[in-house]
């Protein structure tokens, strides 16, 4: 006699397929609800990470903000009161919970002139140079240092300046556009000081900064220059500060900057508005997901109750033949474990796909978010799975008993 596995016979007795069509809407609802819940978490965490600069280089300024004071009309006309930050104001900014670090721009107080003599182009211009603490520099070059004996000075230029040149000046004046590599290969003459108290150096563009709109040189060079080539005067207070913040769209920070009349880039405010919209959208999605989960979960558990009730007669007879109620409830439960795990796996796959697509779409907008779901998503998936398993196990156990 051909042997059939016992589970096949038990399935025939306990898990008849009649009425299983009703199960599909419940499973679909569970899968959709879980997928939407996970996607809401993905959006929330993705946007939160983008704001906190976890994956940095974000176009919404990540964690670094450059701030300055608003210039009012009186200052503009009289030039009597420069918009500088006092030590008290710097301390007050540093005490904000959202501010993790604060750095000051140090400007050169000596004359600076840069000159270039090439075959097809020559120029000479006065300009300003600044320095910031090294920890605030993005894309810091390996050779970013200077000693007073060195004749070559590394310089970091804002990518905005390069863009201005390539897409504004070069197009307008009919001169060739330049790549970063070309610029980095050029050497400039850097003259500092005046009269007898002057020195000549060679300047080389060592890198470009997305973060800081300025022409930066190492702090050691500015300090040396200010000491030896600047007119004797006290070190002035800084006019610009660079802040490292947890979340540049933080309501408290936005409010503080507004009230203190400090200026920063507009991206900050845009991020703040975007956050409100994204959080509202994720909250709506979360609520929809919970409704779908409740509906799907209710229908699914009702279905398990119905299955157990339909199998009641055969279950009693199996118990009379020597099967233990525990064994039978495990047998029925195992079937639902498989179904629940399959549905949750499907929701997880949808979530991974959604995250990959979202990350790609966000990258096109210049926002960096993780390409794969973070721990929050997996924890949510695990919680939904465990809750469903516990609910179904209880229903089956109750039915079998």
């Amino acid at each position: 006699m051909k042997q059939r596995p016992r589970r096949v016979i038990l399935r025939k007795l306990l898990l008849r397929r009649r009425g299983n069509k009703r199960l599909w809407p419940a499973l679909l609802s569970l899968c959709l609800g879980t997928a939407i819940l996970l996607y809401a978490i993905i959006l929330y965490t993705g946007f939160r990470d983008a704001l906190s600069g976890k994956y940095d280089k974000s176009s919404i300024e990540g964690t670094y903000l450059t701030i300055s004071k608003q210039i009012d009309a009186e200052q503009e006309i009289t030039k009597q009161k420069p918009a500088l930050f006092s030590n008290t104001e710097i301390r007050a900014l540093g005490s904000l919970p959202v501010v993790q670090d604060i750095g000051m721009f140090t400007s050169a107080r000596f004359p600076v002139e840069v000159a270039f003599k090439g075959d097809s182009m020559q120029f000479s211009t006065r300009l300003f140079i600044e320095s910031v603490p090294d920890r605030f520099i993005d894309n810091k070059p390996l050779d970013w240092y200077w000693q007073y004996t060195a004749k070559e000075v590394p310089v970091i230029v804002s990518t905005e300046f390069l863009n201005l040149y390539n897409y504004g000046y070069a197009s307008n004046q009919g001169v060739p556009q330049l790549t970063m590599g070309t610029i980095q290969s050029l050497h400039f003459t850097l003259n500092i000081g005046t009269g007898n108290n002057a020195a000549e150096y060679t300047a080389r563009v060592a890198g470009f900064s997305d973060r800081i709109s300025s022409i930066l040189v190492p702090e050691a060079f500015i300090q040396y220059g200010n000491k030896h080539f600047a007119p004797a005067q006290q070190e002035p207070q800084p006019s610009r500060l660079i802040l490292k913040v947890k979340d540049p769209s933080d309501d408290l920070l936005v409010e503080y900057l507004h009230e203190a009349r400090y200026e920063t880039n507009n991206e900050l405010l845009r991020a703040n508005r975007m956050r409100t919209v994204v959080y509202a959208a994720t909250l709506g999605m979360g609520l929809l997901a919970i409704v779908l989960l409740l509906m799907g979960g209710t229908v699914f558990t009702l279905f398990t109750e119905l299955t157990v009730a339909r199998a009641q007669h055969n279950m009693q007879l199996l118990v009379q033949l020597g099967y233990s109620p525990r064994f039978l409830s495990r047998f029925i439960f195992r079937r639902y474990v498989f179904i629940i795990l399959a549905v949750m796996a499907a929701a997880g796959i949808v979530a991974i796909y959604a995250q990959v697509r979202t990350a790609k779409a966000a990258l096109e907008m210049g926002i960096h978010i993780a390409r794969f779901p973070g721990w929050e998503v997996w924890v949510a998936l695990a919680v939904v799975t465990v809750v469903l398993l516990v609910l179904v196990e209880r229903k089956v156990d109750k039915g079998v008993r």
């Binding site: 038990l10 055969n314 118990v319 033949l321 099967y323």
Partner: protein, 214 residues
């Protein structure tokens, strides 16, 4: 395993039984393994009630029933399952086959609980009772006599120390009855199992050690 019965009386019979005629109710009885017991009484006298009570299907009785150390009033569901799977087997009066399963599946679902009886043996036993060509037939399509023979083979398809037979041959003709009795004696003899048979009439199917009236 010893079966001890102390003052057993099912609650439905408490007010109506005739203590003078019955030798099963409200008695102190001890049956040792290997003994053959006949429980005889007319229809409605409580034979099925007696068998079902011993098998643990009913809890509505006064007195005590002990299977070895297990008191049926205190036994857990798990212990009762173990007892039914490996120590006590039964042929129900109403047979209780699964009509949606085939003959073989009805046997196999019992046999696979312990897997101590081989599929070959079970198939041979079905053949001896004239059901060798009906293994794949749905139980629902069998005659009452055929169903009774399937129920007998099912009861033998597990290890047992006691076999409870509730009017087991009521649908069988003389020759099929002889074959069934021979098979039961043979299989029960392997382990010196005890047998309790209920019947409406006296019979000499087995050599009875005790006979009780209901």
């Amino acid at each position: 395993m010893r079966l001890s019965i102390n003052h057993l009386i099912p609650l439905p019979l408490k007010q109506q039984h005739n203590t003078y005629n019955a030798t099963a109710w409200k008695q102190d009885l001890v049956f040792n393994q290997g003994e053959h017991i006949l429980v005889q009484g007319p229809s409605g006298s409580g034979k099925t009630l007696f068998i079902n009570t011993l098998y643990g299907l009913r809890k509505d009785f006064a007195g005590k029933v002990h299977w070895g150390a297990y008191n049926l009033h205190e036994i857990t569901a798990q212990q009762l399952s173990q007892l039914r799977a490996a120590s006590i087997s039964v042929v129900f009066q109403d047979l209780r086959l699964f009509p949606e399963l085939t003959v073989w599946e009805n046997i196999d679902i019992k046999r696979r609980i312990t897997d101590t009886v081989t599929g070959y043996d079970a198939e041979q036993w079905l053949g001896r009772l004239g059901l060798g060509n009906k293994l794949e037939a749905p139980a629902a399509q069998l005659s009452a006599g055929e169903q009774q023979r399937v129920a007998i083979v099912r009861a033998l398809s597990q290890p047992f120390e006691w076999l409870l037979l509730d009017e087991p041959f009521s649908h069988l003709d003389f020759f099929n009855r002889q074959k069934a009795v021979a098979l039961i004696k043979e299989v029960a003899g392997y382990t010196r199992a005890g047998i309790i048979v209920s019947s409406v009439a006296m019979n000499e199917d087995f050599v009875y050690d005790k006979k009780m009236l209901l």
